[in-house]
Symmetry: D2
Subunit: 314 residues, 4 copies
């Protein structure tokens, strides 16, 4: 197990594209620098928000190559190694390692149905095939398996897992995970991916957060983390209320559902805020247009992320 310790705010990086749906390196550097300058504690590439499912392997490793170069060691870099079953995930792990990342993030196996014994073995076999710190990514909305807290703490204690990114939406299980982890001597570093209720995860004892919304407002998440470290809970919740309001950008998208609405809204917001140059999406997802863009701009203005007088970009 690595001696590395991960904590704090580690945003999953949303990828800017140009009009031809190719990665826009100028905007990529801008968004990375903007988050690092805001004080984030790490960056997570090739997560769900980072389009990992939509990229060919060639595109994935182009992203990773550029990301590692731009970050330049200023903060640790985590890389998603997202694929269906164990051998494919190991293939991704070996390639990601070659690019000099600091940790790997893997989900439970998906597509083929399995049970708990396959899930546990999956993480063990990945561990046997890689030396980097390994995080389990608990994401039942995508992979349709919920990771069991007792299994996770066991894998932490045995040195298989470095930590967990919990995007399960199951706050009861997360509380139990935090308690069991603490009672076992804190082998795992525990992160919540639940950007709307990070404050509740901090109350539960989380070691940090991986909020997609931090692509838009990294300053607030960093300030919230510091308030948590200082024990200023009123400030923590006040910032969370602001961020929960800001997250309204994804609630009223008309055009579609799921990734196209969620990351589609993030990209549209970043475009309107001038961080991205377009709100292009990867096939088969289409960018948001018209009324959806206007609604997002309204939310950004109401929450101070855009100047009230700024025009809607087209």
């Amino acid at each position: 197990m690595s001696d590395a310790q991960f904590k704090g705010v580690i945003p999953p990086v949303v990828i800017p594209l140009d009009a031809n749906r190719q990665i826009d390196l100028v905007a990529f550097e801008r968004t990375i620098n903007r988050m690092i300058e805001a004080g984030v504690d790490g960056l997570f590439f090739l997560g769900s928000s980072g389009e990992v499912a939509f990229l060919t392997d060639a595109q994935r490793y182009h992203v990773l190559q550029e990301a590692v170069a731009i970050v330049g060691g200023r903060v640790p870099v985590l890389a998603g190694i997202i694929d269906m079953e164990t051998l494919r995930v190991i293939d991704q792990a070996k390639r990601a390692e070659g690019f000099g990342v600091d940790g790997l993030v893997a989900t439970a196996p998906f597509y083929a149905l399995g049970g708990p014994r396959e899930v546990e073995r999956h993480f063990r076999v990945i561990r046997e095939n890689s030396n980097l710190p390994l995080f389990a990514y608990d994401l039942p909305v995508c992979v349709h398996t919920k990771l069991d807290p007792t299994m996770l703490v066991k894998l932490g204690t045995e040195g298989v897992l470095q930590g967990v990114k919990d995007s399960s939406g199951d706050d009861v299980a997360f509380r139990w995970l935090c308690l069991q982890n603490k009672d076992a001597g804190h082998p795992l570093q525990l992160f919540t991916g639940h950007e709307v209720v990070v404050d509740g995860a901090y109350l539960s004892g989380a070691d940090g957060s991986v909020p997609g919304l931090a692509n838009l407002d990294p300053v607030s998440y960093v300030e919230q983390w510091r308030a948590y470290q200082a024990g200023d809970w009123e400030r923590v919740r006040q910032i969370q209320d602001h961020l929960a309001h800001l997250m309204y950008i994804v609630r009223n998208v008309d055009a579609t559902v799921g990734f196209g609405a969620g990351v589609g809204a993030f990209k549209t917001a970043l475009w309107q805020m001038g961080v991205f140059n377009t709100n292009q999406m990867r096939e088969p997802v289409q960018p948001l247009v018209g009324k959806d863009v206007e609604t997002i701009v309204s939310v950004l203005k109401e929450n101070g992320l855009m100047d009230a007088e700024a025009p809607v970009r087209a």
Copy 2:
């Protein structure tokens, strides 16, 4: 809309049975008094934990008659009016009203499939047929419909609903519900039924909680509520960690799943603690026995709810 305001800790009351599976009135009075003396702010009868699905109508109204008499006005009484579709729920509402309860709690319609327009109309038609404060009970695990925050706040603003008991497990939607309710002038009183993460709900701005686990440890939930009112968040979370540990009683039940494991564990704990005289359940559920009882006793002892030397009751 009633002028009544509901807030604080309102446990859903678990019902003690005797060896013949009839209500045990001595233990019923004991458990009610124990919670009132601990300082709870109300009591909720005929909720899911209160066996509402398992009782005939005659049994339901026997429970309500005895409950209202025992409580004797010391705290407000809420009554579940749980049935499949609107007309059946109204039948329950009219009967519950006759017993002098202070508020009604209704779920979305269930069994027959419907959509949002039926859900909204359901609550409106109940309101037209009753004068008591009406709470929406958001319980997708039982009724397979999640209530939309925007609809709930609209129904609050229009005087249809007095409040919401949220047992949805969707902490993001609960945060948005709290925010939208606050932005609308706080028409709804919002309660969480999520006993393991009440502290997170309080951070979100909840007006109170409806924790089944408070049947076992009402003192802690009351103390937590008061710490929240005093802004002492470290105390709030510390108590929550204790309660989350205590909830381990339901995690490792071997005999069955669902209600028989959850309320079965509550009844078994109350029996071992001497509050109940048996851990009997209603058909078709069987009481926990053997190893399951021993595990529960261990958890109670580890968390200070039973004396370490106390024998296991048989």
Copy 3:
């Protein structure tokens, strides 16, 4: 166990209402007689299509009283005893028995979560409390539990169950149920509720069908049953294709989803065909209007259930 044997086409009867949402006894007699005259082998009242979830107990037994009187012994009458958990179902069973029905139909318990041991015990306890033939109603879309074929055949062999009405949509499990039942000496009478693929159920060895669509076109279902008895599979499938086309009435409803679309379309069709006098629904469901009615009329005309020149009733 009763000596009664059930087989053939047993439609679940859809209930006509007048403009005030009260049962329309003239139309009720008309639709019952129309089905009996077409040659159906029984009638099933208070099923899902029969609004059982929407009726108060008083309304349920009004329906049953009138139904038994109108049928007058011409065909066997089955009655749904649909309620949440065991004791409530037994209450319904005892009342239904009083009205002189020939068999009872009960689902797995619902609302409270349970497991297989509660499901099995549920049917056993109902059996201990009633002498009428008892059918298990496999309806996971409403009760969220799938009945296991092995358990069903065991309960048949032991005299607990008379048969099964399978509306599970799981044609593999139904095939296995038929095989296991046959291998056990055919203790159960097995009916499919899957009106669009009754022919496949007959190939699997079903003893009959309970098709909601037979309220519209009982003659075709009866003819299909007789073709099956005669081994004329080409005729069986040809009729099924006609019926599957006719079922398009429920596919394109815009106004809502679920029961309001499904039974709403049946009622609208029966109204347009002159069997019912309105297409009224029970609260909280609203009747279909406008474009939805027109689409249904088009399907009826294309499939020969309405005269091509007939006007749309309003």
Copy 4:
């Protein structure tokens, strides 16, 4: 659109491994030849049963290279191009094309959530990037999206899709798909993957089947297809009853669930029958052992797939 027409029995080929979990080419040739000699009309490689989710890209294309060589043009070869989202699927398509296969099979996009407009565009974009006949693989149990019959027929009419492999388990939707396809001039070739109820799919008008169980008993599926072509429905259903009995091999596996139980049982049966040399599985799945193997052998003997006196191989 290709002029190729696909029909009849096209088994999804299960892959034999040696003790080191590498492809066992001797057994691979044996199982392929056994199916072709039985008279199958095509073979489908890299489907779910063909371990597509478990193979690295290098392993996938090794399978395909060997498969095309062994088949040697005796029957058409379909190849699964299973990956998460559109661009990754296109990558797989381009590689599969290079190996000389006769058609491609793609699921709806998975992992990232989407809606119907993304699903439709997904198939269109794949079509724009490949010239081979393209089949849609309807597999909600793995990809959590059900393909809409109306959309499928539209894509068939426009030349995007050649056909559908339906493993959705939704026999109502499959009936409607067959009817709509027939009414549109039969642009799609429709296959069922539902090995237990192929007879019902043939009644519905299917153009063929893709039964995993045909790896064990190809002769019966071929004979069933020919009986269907001859209109001998009693023979069709009689064979289906045999095959449904044979499928009991997967019903009582104790060790695990899902793929490890299903394909695990197929491999174990093929091993015991002498077609495969082991029952090895890919990580993280473990081969069945002990009691599970014995149960499978019993079923094989009861259904005539193994000699009654044959010993259990270890």
